[in-house]
Symmetry: C2
Subunit: 154 residues, 2 copies
Amino acid sequence: MTQELAKKYLEDIAVGDKWVSEHYTMTTEEIIAFAKQFDPQVFHLDTEAAKETFFAGLAASGWHTSGITMRLMVASIPIASGLIGAGGQISWSRPTRPGDTLQVVSEVIAVKPSRSKPDRGIVTVQIDTLNQHGEAVQNFTCNMVAFRRESKIA
Amino acid sequence: MTQELAKKYLEDIAVGDKWVSEHYTMTTEEIIAFAKQFDPQVFHLDTEAAKETFFAGLAASGWHTSGITMRLMVASIPIASGLIGAGGQISWSRPTRPGDTLQVVSEVIAVKPSRSKPDRGIVTVQIDTLNQHGEAVQNFTCNMVAFRRESKIA
């Protein structure tokens, strides 16, 4: 959870709010271990054989980039009830490579109180995962549930 | 990779093609281990404490559901050059719970040859991850790159 961050309830969150995460460096070993478990394809598993593929070298599974992004989000986005994603639009514009250092920049682009459930709303956050060159490896526009201070959740 | 499946190139894939995966059962231990690594929030980490949260009990991280979905996709979707996702629209309509048995049903909903790169195209696949009650835990509309037989990839 995000104990070290000032907890924000729905009414504290506004369009334009921006949060920047710490950094995380991906290793070859982690990329291969993740791929074995969740995405066993040659371009994620084998440094040599990956050279002959579309990726022209070892690339992390997009879902591994998503997992690291989530880890960085959890420590940087201070929504009081936690990060509860309903879904969104995701794209992987370039692969994450061994040794890449990732950072997540999140910005609120919409805040929509629920009509049917007055204790909560949907916060839409643009979540960009950047490598050490400032290039996006993932863009995720995520709808998250956030609660009002007086709700019984969180 | 998908050696056991008949490999399909762009020209072999048509709207309406459908693939059904094997099953995968999620355990409490896996849910907690994934959360520790990628999504350390109380509703994914602690069976007891999760009861007091939005999820009213331990729930897998949505990204864990995505990872298991990918694993089932890799073994069931026979695109010749592998599964190379450009991105798409994802939603988690209900949580995956400990003991849930997941299965992935994938259906091609669009096939679009590239105008600029004649050796490839984009295949859009509706990927539904269902639990043992036939309820969707994840819906993912995914754009994947597929190559023609004569391309140099795959």
